[in-house]
């Protein structure tokens, strides 16, 4: 009878495997994926919001795609990412999934369009990607057919994305900064890899790439044409006057300091990050309060 190797019976092999697991990308010996952490990552990253229509969401049919995403480059529809073999990811391997998230390429080697924010997800660690895949694989398969994108042809041509990526995309997992503490690094990871705050709060150049020199400084016309506030610590035009509690109230229930409630894309972000642990929300706050102030008036 086949018995899986156990670390305690083979201490030396065990040690080797643990060491091997330290190197990102190594398929050898990495610990079993944890689908529960995968579900948490799914929430933090807002996958359900983009990959579910409003109607399906109300019926609890999640991740079967078809959600219309309006962008300055035209209208796109998210695909079905449930394990359905015909319409979803049923035939995918873990490697296919990691390739999509890390490098923005489909199993045929074609480029994904950057409406799928793999520009941020590339920073997700290998462990979290594997956990996320384990979770996705275990979800119910839903047989909803994908809807073709409605954007003008030029913005749908996958080969044009190759050169775009050379300028606007850098593949690779998040590397913690040694000169910062664990809380700051956790916050940086949540903000930049998972919750992709910058995909909205950082303005884009004419090619649709993020202007890194204007990190989190806001945009007059966001993903759906709405103004996106400056969330750097600038006192006059950003959130420099906000207290830690003001930020926590926004992130845990959606309320702004004046009592109004955010709508649109930010309301979805709140739905997600309000479900994270209080420590993770605190880490997000710690990190965004260290982002350099940029004076950029939006309204």
């Amino acid at each position: 009878m086949y018995r899986p190797l156990k670390f305690h019976t083979f201490p030396i092999l065990g040690l080797f495997l643990i060491l091997a697991g330290v190197f990102p990308g190594s398929p050898v010996g990495a610990a079993d994926p944890d689908p529960k952490n995968g579900a948490y990552i799914l929430t933090a990253a807002g996958c359900v919001g983009c990959h579910t229509t409003k109607k399906n969401r109300e019926e609890g049919r999640l991740l079967s795609g078809g959600r219309m995403l309006k962008t300055p480059f035209g209208v796109f529809y998210s695909p079905n990412i449930t394990p359905d073999p015909e319409h979803g990811l049923g035939k995918w391997t873990e490697a296919n999934f990691i390739e999509a998230m890390r490098n923005g390429k489909n199993p045929d080697g074609e480029h994904y369009l950057p409406v799928f924010p793999y520009t941020s997800f590339t920073k997700i660690t290998d462990k979290d990607m594997r956990d996320l895949w384990a979770h996705l694989k275990a979800r119910p398969a839903l047989a909803d057919a994908n809807i073709p994108h409605g954007a003008p042809l030029i913005f749908r041509m996958r080969f044009t994305i190759g050169p775009w990526k050379m300028i606007n995309f850098k593949a690779g997992a998040f590397e913690p900064r040694q000169d910062q503490n664990a809380e700051w690094n956790r916050g940086a990871y949540l903000v930049n890899a998972l919750s992709h705050c910058g995909e909205c709060h950082t303005p884009r150049n004419l090619m649709g790439g993020l202007k890194s020199t204007m990190y989190h400084a806001g945009a007059k016309d966001g993903p759906e044409g709405e103004p996106i506030p400056n969330v750097t610590m600038d006192k006059a035009t950003g959130i420099g006057e906000w207290s830690v509690n003001d930020l926590d109230t926004l992130f845990s229930m959606g309320m702004l300091p004046d009592g109004d409630f955010v709508g649109g894309g930010m309301a979805e972000v709140v739905e997600n990050i309000s479900k994270l642990t209080a420590d993770d929300r605190k880490a997000i706050i710690t990190y965004i309060r260290t982002v350099p102030a940029i004076n950029n008036k939006i309204k």
Binding site: M253, G259, V270, E271
Partner: protein, 156 residues
Amino acid sequence: MNRLLTYMSIFFAALILMGATITPSHADGAGEIKNRQLVMKALGAHMGAMGNILKGQGGNSGHLTLHASAIANLATLAQDAFPAGSGPEAGKTRALANIWESGSGFQKVLANFKVNADALAKAGQSDDKAAFGKAMGNLGKDSCGTCHKDYRMKEK
């Protein structure tokens, strides 16, 4: 001169009162938009004031109960703040047209708003701080946030 002023004020006061009783049936959409926006502003002010108290930034925590019951009253007023004809066709408003489309789910969100606001007012009657915070979070997310996400126009 003084007497003339008195007569005139009585005359105008009467006119206004008459107007007030007549208004509902003759109300124009723009006036209804204004009413809705004022009710919403008041909701924002009470929620904001409670937030300020809970963050320890000012105000008196003994007043949370009063704010909560004010919100419950405002939620009753809000039930009548979306009459037909007060949508984007009637003037400057961020209310989306889908509010008045059947099947958009709006009536359910509006009715649920009253339920959540009453739950907050009820939590305000007890000394249970955690229950109060929970009721406020629920009202904020499930009502204010959800309705603004699905039925309020994004800022232009």
